[in-house]
Subunit: 257 residues, 2 copies
């Protein structure tokens, strides 16, 4: 059983940022500088090719900490960020780059779907081990409500199977395109917690029907599909139900800074 | 040019309710009891077969007044509520009831679409005359920002052509199903103000593709599609971006009660 080893710490604008590793998985924890005991914990995933400190993710993490007094955690997906790449990772990246450059969209999609599924298989137990370790920290604890706070595309390809098998997650935000594969739809059928699903309306190569079928599959009584103009990289997060997580995770006991 | 003639007035929970007629169109105005000078004005439409004081509409109107300090107005659609029915109205109601009872869904849909379009043709100039008259009241005034605050199905079949031709409306909420007809898509193409579109995910007879095509048609840069489980009568309004109208209409100068 791995513990959390903190490797660095910085603080800005009321947010404490603590880098860590759990086993071989590097992660980052954002906490209210004013204290975070038992505050709800939000897991954030990054997109394909990106990493745990991608600017968009950082901005959402800071917002979540300062607005709600929550803690936020992100980890690098396998083969991403500070992690070594396997031969499979290198091959997949090369194939994705080449098929995209050549405009071979169908091939790009099938590689993307297969590679995401492979990453998710590795990432789910890593998230679970990270959660186990974080819950043994006094500043998190075993009682803090836990939500999956989103992340487009890869963050969702990992988040859906994670939420399907992880009873500690009690609400989840997903989003993006490229979700046609049957395993993901199967995982969605096992999810019963409240779900908010963000659909970038103008995703260039998205198969909207497959996203709608995925949304259909969630067994959650409370689920919301939300579409905005833009792609998953350019979409402005307007019209988002900012209180979604608060409804299900509750407020932090300590007021945010 | 018609004026507003007030016919009744009641007050409860900080909300003043004033019935009126403009010409032959009966309406109701909900105002903050604490004062409403130049507060943003929200137009609300009712669903097919319903009327201006339907409980769901009343609840949303009260919420809008007490939460934001806004004024809200609703009018009866032609042939609805307190208004006389023409032969066409009676025939359409009979046809809709009979086709539904017989399970002739395609026929029901085509009658519904045709009748809604006819109602919208009559209702748009009625809404405009009502607005003209309301803006001459000191408690509303010509400067108050105006939004279309929604109403499923018929409220949207009227609201879309109204918003397309009415420059005073600067933000709009629409929603529901049954929207396949070309004239509505054409009207949507002329709308450039921010739009929030609510889609009841389990609408029994809704053609989702036609709703998505309608959403596509809005020329608005800022538009959000939001789907929740349920039909347009049973859908719980969760995940709604409650601050949507406030972002575009601003806050009332006078604080709500």
């Amino acid at each position: 059983m791995h513990s959390v080893h903190f490797t660095a710490e910085t603080s800005s604008n009321g947010v404490l940022e603590r880098d860590f590793v759990v086993g071989e998985v590097p992660g980052v924890l954002w906490l209210p500088a004013s204290g975070s005991d038992q505050a709800p914990l939000v897991l954030m995933g990054h997109g394909g090719g990106l990493h745990k400190k991608t600017p968009g993710l950082m901005a959402r993490a800071h917002d979540t900490v300062t607005r709600w007094g929550y803690s936020v955690v992100a980890i690098d997906a396998p083969g991403h960020g500070d992690r070594p790449r396997t031969t499979e990772d290198e091959q997949a990246r090369t194939d994705l780059r080449q098929t995209m450059a050549a405009g071979e969209i169908e091939l790009f999609e099938s590689i993307s779907v297969r590679y995401s599924a492979s990453l998710a298989e590795r990432a789910v137990p890593e998230w679970q081990a990270t959660l186990d370790a974080l819950q043994r920290l006094p500043e998190i604890g075993a009682e803090a409500p836990i939500g999956y706070g989103g992340g487009m595309s890869l963050g969702t390809a990992i988040g859906i199977p994670l939420t399907a098998v992880e009873p500690r997650i009690t609400a989840a935000i997903f989003g993006g395109g490229f979700f046609a594969h049957a395993a993901l739809v199967e995982a969605a059928r096992r999810i019963t917690v409240p779900v908010q699903f963000l659909l970038p309306w103008d995703e260039e190569y998205v198969d909207r029907q497959s996203v709608l079928a995925l949304f259909d599959a969630f067994a959650s009584k409370d689920k919301t599909l939300l579409a905005n103009p833009g792609t998953h990289r350019s979409m402005r997060w307007v019209g988002i139900d900012n209180e979604f997580l608060v409804r299900y995770l509750g407020r932090a006991d300590t007021s945010p800074a």
